[in-house]
Symmetry: C2
């Protein structure tokens, strides 16, 4: 247990640099190259023990999740993820923890051909920050701000599973096939990178759902200076979520629970047919309006949800 910072990096995090990485881990900075016509897309996300994941979470899941949430940001832009830098603040240099953390991180990194090119390892509370960079074509990337009146609102996958999985981790001791599925959806979100690439030429606005559908749809509408009408009955929920929790709670998870990392996007009505060839399950859940707010409807009437979503500095302890 006497590994120094240098040994931690070389044993767990240093991999051979390749391709567009001209200088990888180990110097004061890394050097990478972009091709002509490519623009650089960058995002950064931090996860904190006791805030974003419960104490005692398997380090492999922490490593996986820290990268997944960043990949999801680039997916929302329609970008191709390429390089990450990692800041790891750790209470101690527990080798089995580091080994598992690295295994979860690199499992997902390999899947998307993403290279770790640098970072920092410090002693402190358990806080993991990843900065991700990738490229996007110079002429078009997705933003939150392109939605127009009449555009149709879509989400990928099912919503609420991650919040249900977290609740299952904290409340339910009985392990069923459904709770196992939900926990995996919380611990191992699947970033929608290929969908984001496909949407580049189709969507008018896009973002990923990290803080909950209602909160994030609010943000998309604010960025686009638009409003929305959301048909609550169209919000897709898995059979596992509906089978584990009562209907009200399941709906609450789907509307206000964060951490699903599905894509929320809009398309002009005329472009709807272009979604047909995509393999990812998509659900049409509402439309963009000129009103400055998000109105929820159910059976044609206004519906008031119990909770709106998550804000780090407004809510109490989340997890």
């Amino acid at each position: 247990m006497s590994l120094g910072e240098f040994e931690i990096i070389s044993r767990y995090f240093k991999k051979p640099a390749s391709g567009d990485v001209l200088l990888g881990i180990g110097d004061d900075a890394a050097v990478v190259s972009l091709r002509s016509g490519q623009r650089l897309a960058v995002a950064m996300d931090t996860i904190v023990e006791g805030v974003h994941f419960p104490k005692g979470t398997d380090a492999a899941d922490i490593g996986y999740r820290a990268l997944a949430v960043n990949l999801s940001d680039l997916a929302a832009m329609g970008a191709v993820p390429k390089w990450i830098t990692l800041s790891l603040s750790l209470p101690s240099n527990d080798e089995s923890w580091l080994d598992r953390f690295a295994s979860g991180l690199f499992e997902l990194a390999s899947k998307f051909n993403v290279q770790l090119i640098g970072g920092d390892t410090v002693r402190g509370p358990l806080v993991v920050t990843i900065q991700i960079a990738g490229w996007v074509e110079s002429n078009r990337w997705l933003t939150r701000s392109g939605a127009q009146v009449g555009d149709l609102i879509f989400v990928s996958g099912c919503l609420g599973d991650a919040a249900g999985g977290l609740a299952a981790l904290q409340e339910l001791s009985e392990i069923t096939e459904s709770t196992r599925y939900l926990k995996q959806r919380f611990l191992r979100p699947q970033p929608r990178v290929s969908l984001g690439r496909e949407l580049r030429e189709i969507a008018s606005a896009s973002m990923d759902i990290s803080d909950g559908l209602l909160t994030d749809l609010d943000k998309l509408c604010a960025a686009s200076a638009m409003g929305a009408e959301l048909d609550v009955d169209r919000v897709p929920m898995s059979s596992q979520l509906r089978g584990t929790f009562d209907a009200d709670r399941a709906l609450n998870f789907a509307l206000a629970g964060g951490d699903d990392y599905e894509l929320l996007f809009t398309v002009h009505a005329a472009d709807q047919s272009r979604l047909r060839n995509l393999k990812t399950p998509l659900a049409h859940i509402g439309k963009i309006t000129a009103l400055g707010t998000v109105r929820c409807v159910r059976n044609g009437a206004t519906f008031e949800p119990n909770a709106r979503g998550y804000d780090h500095f407004h809510s109490g302890a989340r997890k």
Copy 2:
């Protein structure tokens, strides 16, 4: 005190994007452009309360310092800093703290024309991570690994001031002109960005001194597969450091104290004259040898220093 994450970002951190920033703060990712012939240099550094700065440090100094240590990494590469992303883990949304943090950060950012283009704000222990990116010409950047036998070793500025300043903060209640100077050297290091640019065509190897001269010279030698002979009497120390501490302690700070963020670099003997026109004070402190270790000499005899430097996972609590 009820600012949400969104308000924190727009009130304190969002500035108009300009120049090569095609999409700034506020979306899932930022988008920037590089010119043809430019390569991207990236680095990341994290500072933790109670580890890298004492509890109660002025937030303006924390903001300044978080950026300074990152600028120093790009300086060591000979790169031009351009864009940063910021992860801020904060126990609470104290507005006066945020205001001061942002003032220190942007004071330094403006000086170097560096733009904040994204990041993450989360609730948690006080941990600040900055990822910095900039450009360097495609044909040459500085690394730690280019030193050759016979190269001369130089440092910029004076060493030990920051460690002396930290000791003064912790031990000395009497404020003198010298202790005020040393504290500023700890809290407000001056990244050597323009020196790094000038050295691009002159130095054979370069790095910044963050963990202490002996530790960092060890790293440079390891990266270059070389050794070094360090003339301890040539290590530059300020009159303020020598006037505040006894000779042994001052030397110890200069050799093993971290946080000076001066540049440590090597030049081929034939290139020494090319340093003459540079404005930054430089000191010739030794030479590169074929031996695999760093040998300290004093008056021609081997000298054994008391301490070697700082490693986050080997030492006890530092600060």
